[in-house]
């Protein structure tokens, strides 16, 4: 069972901090009327970074969902690339600005394109797992989803495939208890999403998603199991959605402010920061310099993206078919 080195711990922290600052900046841009839409990962960063670092980045495959900014940054998405997506600018790597922001795809990092309809990605991950098994490769595939979306038949059918064929898939559930305004109790009659695994015949684990290292351990174990040929694992991370669902949402109508304030007390970023400081991995100086460096990175990325052109209108007509693909 591997444990992250000091360097890895610092890198995990850096990615979480970068994700947080980029995300906060996106909210500001929205308030300024510079972007039309943002969907936030604030509160989910520890789960995403813990999971990503537990896998072999560059080799393993990922089928994420819209909250996974921190995961994508861990996989190599650059701040500029994210910013281009926010603004719908040319060169945005996931879709050439065809999709809404945070609809991820990054071929160079084995990150598969996902759509908006929730749950559709789950069978894709099982299909990738089936292909890995058929080819005798040693990669694993991780797919993430919110707890509400596990109500979809697509999720059930996708997980069932992996369980039957013991495919190398990790089903990561980021459970923030809300699906927009609908609470978990209205989505399922079980107390934890992990319990759903027992009905599908695969191991299910619930882990504190505010604790990056706890998630790192559980996902490392799931990856080992998958590589051993022992099949898939359902990993439920309990996280907090510290923002409204998206920039289109106003959550005051359905959740009390006190609840949100209480959650903020358990902010996964500061928790990880405290922990690294206590274990002397992170000094206050280092932390300050990281903040500064990241502040600059974010500012530069936004500036460059604002300066970037929109796609030419001519780009909109392709590629409908593979025959129409144009590079560059």
């Amino acid at each position: 069972m591997k444990t992250p080195t000091k360097e890895t711990l610092l890198e995990m922290y850096r990615v979480m901090l970068l994700a947080r600052r980029l995300d906060e900046r996106a909210w500001v841009l929205h308030r300024q009327g510079k972007i039309a839409f943002h969907i936030s990962g604030i509160g989910h960063e520890a789960a995403q970074v813990g999971a990503a670092f537990a896998l072999e980045r560059g080799k393993d495959w990922f089928v994420p969902y819209y909250r996974d900014l921190a995961m994508l940054l861990a996989l190599g998405l650059t701040p500029l690339e994210f910013a281009l997506g926010l603004l719908g600018k040319k060169g945005e790597p996931s879709s050439g600005a065809r999709q809404m922001p945070s609809h991820w795809s990054l071929r160079r990092a084995n990150v598969v394109s996902h759509s908006s309809p929730v749950g559709t990605q789950t069978p894709h991950a099982s299909g990738i797992g089936l292909a890995i098994k058929m080819r005798g490769d040693s990669a694993v595939v991780l797919t993430s989803i919110g707890e509400g979306s596990t109500s979809q038949g697509e999720w059930y059918e996708g997980v069932n495939w992996a369980a039957i064929h013991r495919l190398p898939v990790i089903f990561l559930v980021e459970n923030n208890v809300y699906a927009i305004s609908v609470r978990q109790e209205q989505q399922m009659a079980v107390a934890t999403v992990a319990e759903k695994a027992s009905g599908l015949g695969l191991p299910g684990v619930t882990v504190d998603g505010l604790d990056a290292l706890a998630v790192f351990d559980v996902v490392s174990e799931a990856a080992d199991r998958a590589r051993r040929g022992d099949g898939p694992t359902l990993v439920e991370t309990r996280v907090h959605r510290l923002t409204p669902h998206s920039s289109d949402d106003d959550d005051r109508s359905y959740r009390p402010r006190e609840e949100v304030e209480a959650m903020k007390a358990g902010d996964p970023l500061s928790a990880f920061e405290q922990r690294l400081k206590q274990s002397k991995v992170l000094s206050s100086e280092k932390q300050a310099s990281l903040e500064e460096e990241i502040g600059k990175t974010v500012a530069d990325a936004i500036q460059a993206a604002e300066a970037a052109p929109y796609p030419e209108v001519s780009e909109a007509s392709y590629p409908v078919y593979v025959e129409d693909i144009r590079r560059g």
Partner: protein, 328 residues
């Protein structure tokens, strides 16, 4: 007479029908305390309670499938699909079940239900929050398909749909939810008959046939052409299935020229059926080719706004097509 928005017309329709008939209830994602993501059900949860305004799990096929069951028992469900783009998981329940129930049981079982789905582009929704799907469902005998374009019709058609004993799919032009305002008399009961089109502008040189947002753009284009001395008759179809053929054939019989405008992909779009009917039943009346102005044949509407604008028909494009046809 109060001026209200299109979405307020929908809200009033549901409020009045809920009050009139205790068999009527609403089910969908976030329709409860949140009042719907577009606020179409705002205030109804507070007024009618959790027993009749039901926040569903995040699972469209079961929203429809459960609605069908309740309708079979004798209730009158109004099912909200949050965006038309997410109706696909329910395709089987709508097309194979709801639409075929009456015929397959020789009338022993019927499905009095309404399905509401916001559709259409121009709101920065990208591929999966902009779709127009009427062509799929207007091809399904057993369904009725309605598209209101004004607040009065939104209210009157939705109320009529709730009272209709068949499954009725109401596609709501979401771009017009707050943009389109109109006078709706208070106090009196507003009911608009299903299956009846409306000549919204009288003209002599050509007939322009549209629905939803495109109907408003078509009226604007017709105004522009009036300046040039070209007289356009405009038809708002209002119901796509069953189609009001008499009104369409009557108008084209008079003008001899027809242009059909829709924002869905051109190929296989709903306008094709109208053109086919005209090519057969109005052949001897036609003085010019039957023209269609639709969206381009790319998989869906791209996000980046220059690309979105490229996709969408607008008054300028429509006026251009009218000019060309008038000059034929």
């Amino acid at each position: 007479m109060a001026e209200i928005t299109l979405i307020e017309g929908l809200r009033q329709a549901m409020d009045e029908e809920l009050a009139r008939d205790d068999r009527v209830f609403i089910v969908g994602e976030d329709v409860g305390p949140r009042g719907g993501v577009f606020r179409a059900t705002q205030g109804l949860f507070e007024k009618y309670g959790s027993g009749r305004i039901i926040d569903s799990p995040l699972a469209e096929l079961s929203i429809i499938g459960v609605g069908i069951g309740a309708a079979l028992y004798g209730l009158r469900p109004i099912c909200e699909i949050q965006f038309a783009d997410f109706i696909h998981p329910a395709f089987n329940q709508i097309v194979n079940e709801a639409a075929k129930m009456c015929y397959r049981s020789n009338g022993e079982w019927t499905v009095p239900m309404v399905i509401r789905a916001p559709y259409g582009g121009g709101i920065g929704g990208g591929l999966y929050h902009s779709q127009s799907l009427e062509a799929f469902f207007a091809h399904v005998p057993g369904l009725k398909v309605v598209v209101p374009s004004t607040p009065r019709e939104a209210k009157g058609l939705l109320k009529a749909a709730v009272r209709d004993p068949n499954p009725v799919l109401v596609f709501e032009p979401k771009k017009g939810y707050r943009l389109i305002k109109g006078e709706v008399p208070e106090g009196e009961e507003i009911l608009e008959p299903l299956g009846v089109a409306r000549v919204s502008r009288v003209g002599t040189d050509l007939t322009a046939i549209a629905y939803g947002m495109m109907h408003h753009y078509t009226l604007q284009a017709a105004d522009a052409l009036a300046q040039e001395g070209i007289s356009v008759e405009v038809i708002d179809l209002r119901t796509l299935l069953p189609l009001d053929k008499a009104t369409v054939l009557g108008s084209v019989g008079k003008t001899g020229k027809a242009l059909i405008i829709y924002e869905d992909n051109l190929t296989g779009g709903y306008g094709g059926e109208i053109a086919a009917i005209l090519a057969d039943e109005a052949f001897t009346d036609l003085d010019a080719p039957v023209r269609r102005l639709g969206g381009p044949d790319v998989p869906a509407m791209p996000y980046s706004h220059p690309l979105q604008d490229w996709f969408l028909p607008n008054p300028v494009k429509i006026a251009g097509a009218m000019r060309e046809l008038a000059a034929f």
